[in-house]
């Protein structure tokens, strides 16, 4: 999974391989490991892309799913 913008600064990393069966399981695992990051990821302005497509709500994940957490985009 990938973190962009200020989320990567909050976490201290940009990319990690994490096992989770669903988006909600992934969020729980991240929050357990880093409460600050868990809170940052749950903000209403953070979007989630699975395999480079924006998504809402929960979603099952496979071993090859690429999950990205996207903070508000600044434009170029």
């Amino acid at each position: 999974m990938l973190l962009f913008g200020r989320l990567a600064d909050v976490a201290g990393w940009r990319e990690k391989i994490i096992e989770a069966a669903s988006l909600s399981a992934l969020r729980t695992r991240l929050a357990e490991a880093d409460a600050g990051l868990g809170e940052a990821l749950s903000g209403p302005s953070v979007q989630v892309a699975v395999d480079k497509t924006l998504t809402r709500g929960d979603l099952p994940l496979t071993a090859t799913s690429e999950v990205a957490f996207l903070p508000p985009m600044s434009g170029g």
């Binding site: 200020r6 996207l70 985009m73 600044s74 434009g75 170029g76």
Partner: protein, 152 residues
């Protein structure tokens, strides 16, 4: 039609020269070059983060829609990523059309979208440290102009 994300600096003049060359049925080429301002020394470096495969796909979708909406003959978008020094070009957009109104409006529209809605994350490294930038109200207003116009 081409959309290019690159970390290397580019020369807007060279891009415009190639874009204009050999056209016989194009009457109008509009271009826009966005440069990194020094802001009297306040900004040392700008850093743009993109999500490869996501950012370029979003820009390509937008470019295709603009090409159809404004009946463009061609367009080129080149966008820097990574650290950008003051005075360097950040973005270059060129649009080719039969007539100038379409070329101008398409270029303006693409820039409004790129500046406010394109999936980039922008960080300024200045003398007081680094900070992430979010779109300004002006950016949102500018991009919003086109939503109004596209209502039936």
């Amino acid at each position: 039609m081409a959309v290019i994300l690159q970390s290397e600096p580019f020369d807007p003049g060279q891009l415009l020269g190639s874009f204009c060359a050999g056209r016989r049925e194009t009457g109008a080429v509009a271009s826009f070059t966005g440069l990194a301002r020094a802001e009297d020394g306040a900004t040392m470096t700008l850093e743009l983060e993109a999500y490869p495969g996501f950012t370029d796909a979003a820009i390509e979708d937008m470019a295709a829609a603009a090409a159809a909406r404004f009946d463009l003959q061609d367009l080129l978008i080149v966008h820097r990523t990574g650290p950008i020094a003051p005075g360097e070009a950040i973005v270059f957009v060129a649009t080719a059309a039969s007539h100038r109104r379409a070329a101008f409006e398409a270029c303006d529209h693409l820039m409004d979208w790129l500046k406010s809605r394109a999936p980039f994350w922008k960080k300024e490294h200045g003398p007081d440290g680094a900070r992430w930038i979010e779109p300004t109200d002006r950016d949102r207003t500018d991009a919003g102009r086109w939503d109004e116009e596209s209502k039936p």
